[in-house]
Symmetry: C2
Subunit: 215 residues, 2 copies
């Protein structure tokens, strides 16, 4: 269930542009590990990566841009499973997310991105787009479950995937306690039970009546 993530810059084929990106993202990753987002500067990344600072400004615009690109790069380390059943997929994905955020540096990364978004509308837009795309992609898992008859036809895939992810970010950003496999198991079990009960129906239909707390 644990997924070792690649250090940025490893095992990614590509030309000079790709190598430049990986050198830069590796430097960002290490700078964040050393000093967090507050200490991250374009100059520090340039020095560490050996890439000219003008190139950094041209391609990434700001430290917010660097951190968001790093997030995109690292998200490839949380694979989307296809085990044949939704419970199996939810358990596998939750386990991968827990392994990813089990590392302090990954927690600091998401904290840095969220902080950047609070200050900078462009960073906020990057974050919104990133998670929007990621949720849409992960939603395929739910669409397959609906096709297999595991879930009601009106299930909203993005609601299901949001519900799976939410507990991890709440734990990291709000409650500020460690992410562990117990949280992953609980999140996957909860989402499966709630999805079967119709809690994630599409907006126009609302939740299934017999599962509504109000009903």
């Amino acid at each position: 269930m644990t997924t070792a993530h690649h250090a940025p810059g490893e095992a990614r084929p590509g030309g000079r542009t790709a190598r430049t990106r990986q050198a830069v993202l590796t430097a960002v990753f290490r700078e964040l590990g050393d000093g967090g987002f507050a200490a991250l500067t374009m100059e520090g990344v340039a020095q560490r990566s050996g890439i000219h600072v003008a190139t950094l400004y041209r391609r990434w615009r700001s430290t917010e841009g660097l951190v968001c690109d790093l997030l995109t790069d690292l998200s490839a380390d949380v694979p989307l499973p296809d085990s044949g059943t939704l419970p199996g997929d939810l358990q596998a994905l939750a386990g991968s997310i827990a392994a990813f955020y089990g590392e302090a540096r990954m927690r600091r990364l998401i904290e840095a991105v969220v902080s950047a978004a609070a200050r900078d509308p462009e960073a906020a837009a990057v974050l919104r787009t990133f998670f929007g795309e990621r949720l849409a992609l992960a939603g395929r898992m739910v669409e397959r479950a609906v096709e297999r008859g595991e879930l009601p036809a009106d299930t909203d895939p993005e609601k299901v995937m949001s519900a799976l992810g939410a507990p991890f970010y709440y734990r990291i950003l709000i409650v500020r306690r460690p992410v562990d496999q117990d949280l992953a198991a609980s999140a996957a079990t909860a989402v499966w039970a709630a999805a079967r009960a119709g809690a994630y129906g599409r907006r126009d239909d609302g939740p299934a009546h017999d599962a509504s707390p109000g009903g």
Copy 2:
């Protein structure tokens, strides 16, 4: 279901110390509304509140301290219901949270607090303590449900309350889309279904076997 929150400084009886606090928190609230956390300074709050800046430093230490105290003050606006059934309580509390964060200024407030925590260990400790206490308090709702026989005896109250809150913070901080009553209804329905299925069992017991995605 909507709960109008008090402006800081209103309807809180108390002596001179309490009046000073409310004047300061009202100023913090307005400064955050104008410029967000990035523009918040001790001097700006002193000027707006008419309270000497030395008093601010002595009592709140930093802008992080001010924002965390404001959060504590405003949380009194999200009452903990006691409707007689857990589904009713979950629905009411989720509705109150949605109403609270339906306002842009409240979203900016939580963003400011989370950003402060990412930079400042003391702000992180305040946030952790605040939500820890809040979850423990809200957990009474779940304890009553267990006493009424609505939920398995091994249900962990803080897990249930964390699961109810998580979708709101995920929506605000990560997905960055509006918080609405549809999210509240979905969160309450989901938590009720998952709790009945045993997803929030205490750690040593694990989730109920028949509800496990792996089972």
